[in-house]
Subunit: 280 residues, 4 copies
């Protein structure tokens, strides 16, 4: 949670008691009321996102347009009330508003109000799907947070290696795309270099839509090489992340040290030091 | 085997001897007769599933319809007799019926009988393919069971990490799909948000059917990013599972037991028992 | 090399000296003449396979038909002479003929002779591409043989786990295919259960041709789940093979033991035991 | 950096001081001026490559042709001046010209000049995209260089294993392609053996364009096997690279040096130096 409220607790208690009570319900989830609030909110988020999905389907919009319109406003008003409560109870309201979740909360309700001023902006409304990002709050639950931390630590630790990898892939894709544009040309669907690069990415990542594909023998030969290359170099990010995860796992496992010899590396279920035999 | 018959053996032997004999043949596979029963059953299952496959092909159904009808009833009767025998010999019949394999056994014979009452329910009949699930009984064979255990242990151990991974992927896919719906719009095949999300999954997992694909330059650019993202993050589940498997393997390898307390689970370089401190 | 000639050397030398000399040239590659023979043979194999490729292209066959016909017979006669020499010099001719490479050698020359008796059997002629399998002989070179051994050891060691994995995937694919046949039906391209299973394999392995793809909302939802499943479980074979390779590598690295304490696990460049400090 | 200028420093300083000064700016990046030069160059490279991309789009070329023509010549002149400076200041000009980056630099400016002599050679101009390869110079930055080294060491160390893997894949693909040509034939899109092999590569690497796909039941069955094979053997390069990376990581981690002989490369659990036997 990036709203950094925790270290704000040492300030003198001038706040009304209802604010503290609601703060605990809304921002925390270690009380029954807090947990209930989270569950209700999660259900409302998922239902409102499903409404957005369903509304985008033309046939449903034509038949149930008014029902969906009502539901949409109900959810918007609910989220508006929740947003107002969050501002009212937050210890540092401005900090909350400009935090990641604050901005997502605003993005979740703004499009509906804007649609009154700018009618017909239907595509723009799909931005409300971003409401689902609010569901990330569920990771407040500590057991998931820990796993999420292990994963993101491993990814960050291998960040620089992955940068080198992605830079190399980007340059490869530009060079392959340009060469393919020369070989196949506009008459075979490689209408310009950006399209050729798009094809190179589609092929190297083994996605393979087939909307652009080579027709000349030389083009097919180069495409075959690109495929085998893509098929092989996927091993590189996999290797990077696996090694980092293995390290992260080992670090977590080896955090107990022996009181006698001071050595670490014991298993989670060990009761005696495996190096000197002393009780842990 | 989830029917938990093994700890039912201590109850007093009021059962007829033929029931015990047939129980051993049908439910176990450590006698020659039991093994023969398993092999015959396996062949019947595979043949009956092939009949279901072949029957679904229009041209074959038109030409050999009556033969297939006869075969189908032959297999159904055979499996019905087998099911009756299982109920008759099982130590706790109700427990067997509501076990995983009991339900699969019922699903294997029910559709054919139902087709008498509800003629023309041809599509529904394909549920008989689930008969193949019965073949999972072959994993009773202990050598495969052990390997299957190692695999499922590794997958379960990484379950929480994989939950975090799949949640993140799900939210990514919703956000990407909604943004793509805005960019490409209905005229380019992204007819609604669910279709856009379907496209995002097809692309992120590198499946790439090509039934929906971006046409605008901006859409192709976003699609390229999604592909490279999908190509990279496949490293995450791979890393998770590899690390867990490596751990499972090590645990299995380190099963030398302590001479004093008899416990296992020591590291390869351990010189003292980590449970009781005795020298290994 | 599966022709097991090496342990045939202890038999009394009644063979003509030219046979031994040619045996060494043809079957072995540790003399300059033997190496030259291998290189010439490899070039002839690759050229003859290229001839087969080129001959299958209609426009080239029409224009250069007679040239290709001549080349084809030249290669066939060359390989026939080589085959005759192999039989003449092999220590156990029958054993060679029925070995893997013996059968491939026969398959390499037979189709051309058969085409005289059965003219017009053009498709059948493409079996001559199997000549390329003869090029596997190049792995006789010891440095590649060692790496090939490490790879095949790792694959064999994980064979049983991979069997369990592939069985599970096969059953999954049958069940998914049957359910999809019920959902989508014949009017959406899922014409019968085998086609549905083919679709399930195309999707689960993330190949994604797009020749069959779901059209109903429910079908697309199931397809999305299958894709995410396929995207995730690819981690399983990868994890299996990685762990086995890591083991194979460690075994190879840890083959030196300390003369004083007898412990192993030293690096390839170690000159002193890392456990007791004794010189290795 | 492959121009090997560093060990040329010991030669007597007959060079003009401006050459040394500019050498440091152009070839090195450890001074503020050198870093600024690198940044400006990088921006110019990226902009010029974007110009090449944009110029290849027909509609933009028709409307902004003259602007792009002017930009192109501006970049070409800029890179020509830079190239002249590099030759003038390099300690061994010829060595620079024939180094990898020297050739890329020539390829970056030559096509534009050639287009004066050979007008209409539009496709050929796309070779200018290779300019992007010059951006690889950014890896001079030491922190990336180290990561790039770890990656390339791991790939080189597994080079022989990957050669065996790719040879096996190549032969597999030829054999599968030839068999598929026999099964499906020209009327189903498998017009010749090279096309069949192209299909086999598209399928085995899980790219799956769908421009060629099997139509006969036997063909679909073989295709299914090829897909499952491709889905499984991707584990092999991944395993190879992961194991090598794990080794490379361990070596880097074990760089604590011996107090007596100063050598490094000890294991994490080593208590005695493996080179001289001294206690660590």
């Amino acid at each position: 949670m990036q709203h950094g409220e925790s270290n704000a607790r040492i300030e003198p208690r001038r706040r009304a008691p209802w604010r503290d009570k609601w703060y605990r319900i809304i921002f925390e989830s270690d009380t029954p009321a807090g947990r209930l609030f989270d569950v209700v909110l999660m259900v409302a988020i998922v239902l409102s996102v499903l409404t957005v999905f369903v509304e985008s389907v033309r046939s449903i919009r034509f038949r149930f347009g008014s029902v969906l319109f009502g539901l949409e406003w109900a959810f918007t008003l609910l989220f508006s009330v929740e947003f107002a409560l969050r501002i009212a109870t937050a210890k540092r309201p401005m900090r909350y508003v400009f935090s990641f979740f604050g901005l997502v909360d605003i993005l979740s309700i703004l499009p509906t109000y804007l649609s009154l001023a700018l009618p017909g902006s239907q595509y723009f409304l799909s931005v409300r799907s971003l409401r689902l990002l609010r569901a990330f709050r569920v990771f407040k639950l500590s057991k998931f947070l820990r796993e999420a931390n292990v994963l993101s630590t491993a990814l960050l630790a291998s960040g620089r290696k992955i940068t080198v990898f992605l830079s190399t892939v980007s340059m490869l894709v530009v060079v392959i795309g340009s060469v393919m544009y020369m070989i196949e040309g506009e008459e075979n669907g490689f209408t310009d270099i950006p399209t050729s690069i798009y094809w190179a990415i589609v092929t190297l990542t083994t996605v393979g839509y087939g909307d652009v594909s080579p027709h000349t023998p030389l083009g097919k030969t180069l495409a075959s090489l690109v495929m085998i290359l893509g098929y092989s170099i996927i091993a590189v990010p996999t290797g990077i992340v696996t090694v980092e995860m293995s390290q992260a796992k080992k670090r977590a496992d080896a955090e107990k040290s022996c009181p006698q010899c001071g050595k670490t590396g014991h298993d989670l279920d060990a009761r005696f030091c495996k190096h000197c035999g002393a009780a842990l």
